[in-house]
Symmetry: D2
Subunit: 226 residues, 4 copies
């Protein structure tokens, strides 16, 4: 499966506002915003909510993480095959809240590929983004951890992180799809992220904790068109 870009990826994390029935409702709002604006919106629910959400909405669903494992004796781990089977079309990898060893990032990109899952690998700065790009995932996303959940957008507070990432990643792989995230909470944050040269954004609390996620997502989606 291929995503359509620009893309807005909504990470549900482990907020109570995006757990269970509330998570399903949030996914439906994302679907409605996507249909109305024509912009691709991806939802990234918690593992236990993934299957029901994937069965209910028609927009792409990603897992938050998969483990570097093969089927078998791996109690408590996340198997690529299971996530795919439950309806995910892609997965985040190495999110700053769920980091992997370097060699495991490489293994998990391969597992995602083998299972037909889009791989979106997160990095904390430009040089790590270049390292990620060297391992050929489908998407590289840069997110400075100090801004995650801050409400201060990377695209406005640290645009050089985004532009340096693009520069270093392009040297390694001129065609890599690059996203950015951290602190994105307004349509302007999104618009600037796109102007800096990214193909989209990762958002979380700015949407999940919004009073009206649907209208926030519509404004984000419209902002990608500017």
């Amino acid at each position: 499966m291929n995503l359509q870009f620009p893309t807005i990826i909504v990470n549900f994390k482990t907020y109570l506002e995006s757990t269970g029935r509330k998570g399903l409702d949030l996914a439906k709002q994302a679907e409605r915003a996507s249909k109305e604006t024509g912009i691709c919106i991806v939802v990234v629910p918690q593992f236990v909510d993934l299957m029901k959400i994937a069965e209910t909405v028609e927009i792409p669903v990603f897992a938050q993480h998969i483990d570097p494992i093969k089927p078998g004796n791996c109690t408590g781990h996340i198997l690529a095959e299971s996530v795919k089977d439950a309806g995910a079309v892609g997965t985040l990898i190495n999110h700053s809240e769920r980091q992997l060893k370097l060699s495991d990032v490489d293994s998990v990109i391969a597992l995602a590929h083998e299972n037909g899952l889009i791989s979106c690998v997160c990095a904390n700065n430009p040089s790590v983004s270049a390292a990620v790009a060297a391992m050929r995932p489908d998407i590289t996303s840069v997110e400075p951890p100090e801004l995650i959940g801050s409400g201060i957008s990377v695209s406005i507070a640290k645009p050089e992180i985004v532009t340096d990432t693009i520069k270093l990643v392009r040297k390694v792989d001129p065609k890599m799809t690059i996203l950015c995230g951290a602190g994105i909470s307004t349509a302007e944050d999104v618009a600037i992220a796109l102007k800096l040269g990214t193909c989209g954004v990762l958002v979380a609390s700015g949407v999940v904790k919004a009073k009206n996620p649907y209208s926030v997502l519509c404004s984000f989606a419209e902002a990608t068109k500017k």
Copy 2:
């Protein structure tokens, strides 16, 4: 919620034989075996399959693991609240394939308790079992890792691990519910585990990979009555 003992806990691990539709089918066979024999059988599916299985069967469903986290910024982790919300009534903790730091075992037992989840903490030997018991989970289960998946039953190959566990755990907590697991694959393995003084068994490949899990589970359940 309280379990009824003796209990057979079926850990689905990450076997393909217990993933997705096959996992749902396996849970149904466990339910049928439980109803027919009157013995409590708990199923422990993968995270992404948990909600659907909990919605479908009436026997108790456990999670394979929960993380020592609070709701919020924990991408890729397992939140007690989510697992509970999805229909789990308990959780394995510190399985030998998903071990935790000592202080996290304590934190996760508390999280399980706060969320009304039965805590079944695994230990690899008698002294670690005693350590677990000191942190007051609902259930302590001893499983020597070298026998896990071996087809050689702990109750037959290393009965002293079971009896030493019972002895050391009883000193710390005379009322602790104690299970054992590792390599259990025949009705006799189960019967002996109970005779050694446990309240039940943890099983995995012996059931998950059986040609007829239903009949295997019936034979295990009957063996607990002897």
Copy 3:
């Protein structure tokens, strides 16, 4: 080797004030304070400084950590045999800044025992302390992490953590040697820790970062006599 109690254990951590030549000097001050007061003072330097300090001072030297490994292919890890060979007579285990999986705490206690190293296992609260005691180390030390490095002494701010630890640990092992630590920075903090029923204290920044560690240690040592 047996320690003499009461004992003051000085953890050098990775402070620059206790690195290299400064670490050696600090160890000499501890030795002088110990000789003058007659109270046992243990120094716990960084790994690279351990051998020289053990060769230079006559007071007991502990390692800050050992790994759950056997000799061989363990690049970058801490081998019990090496630490012993370098002159350590004991080791901290599971310090809150270097925590271990539950089963590894048990393995490392055994490794320390096999190598003739005194095992001092740290715990963050009373129930974890009881769990530690169940694995039979030589010493159990309780240190609430929120007070570590705070300058607010556990013995004064949270005496109930110390007394609850003593109560729970005694149930598991009536003869266990119990220490406490976290925020201890005055002679009074030490005196109260002893009055609460401990056999000594773990200190770090209160000594390492003091202008005159020697005189601070003398005052701590005298306080244990009250």
Copy 4:
């Protein structure tokens, strides 16, 4: 400090044959072999042995690992400043037996640089080697873990891993110094590694467990001249 190439890096790991007095003796043999052949030989002892070895021999000494930490509250960890202070001129990073999270590899390369330590980062395959190179260490070393300690040399059994690594790394950084390791145990293994285009080799058991490490090292050093 700059190394002279070709270089042979001797990882002492945690073998008893390279612990304590035996480690010091091994380092002296390496020094003698280096002086006699004129080829740079680096020794990589265990942490507790590092200072004495660095004080005794005149060849370069590396640490086996450093942690992604700043001075302070990091009990049981390896501080770059301490390792430097003890006489190391460089460090292995991300050895397959001591792997780091991706972002920590980047942090530790920076710490090594700030402290004037040569950074030699290990990778398990060509794509991970390219990722490493993107983070600009001084040296990238490829070591397929399945051959480590096997006695079967990467340069002979899997030369394509070496040549693919060189190709992918050169794309990212045309000037990167590339080494290889795993299973190297004869002079021919070394000679072929150099012919494939590397600047040297990492060796361990082939030297540490040899009856006469000095003569083995001499033969390795001579082989680099062919």
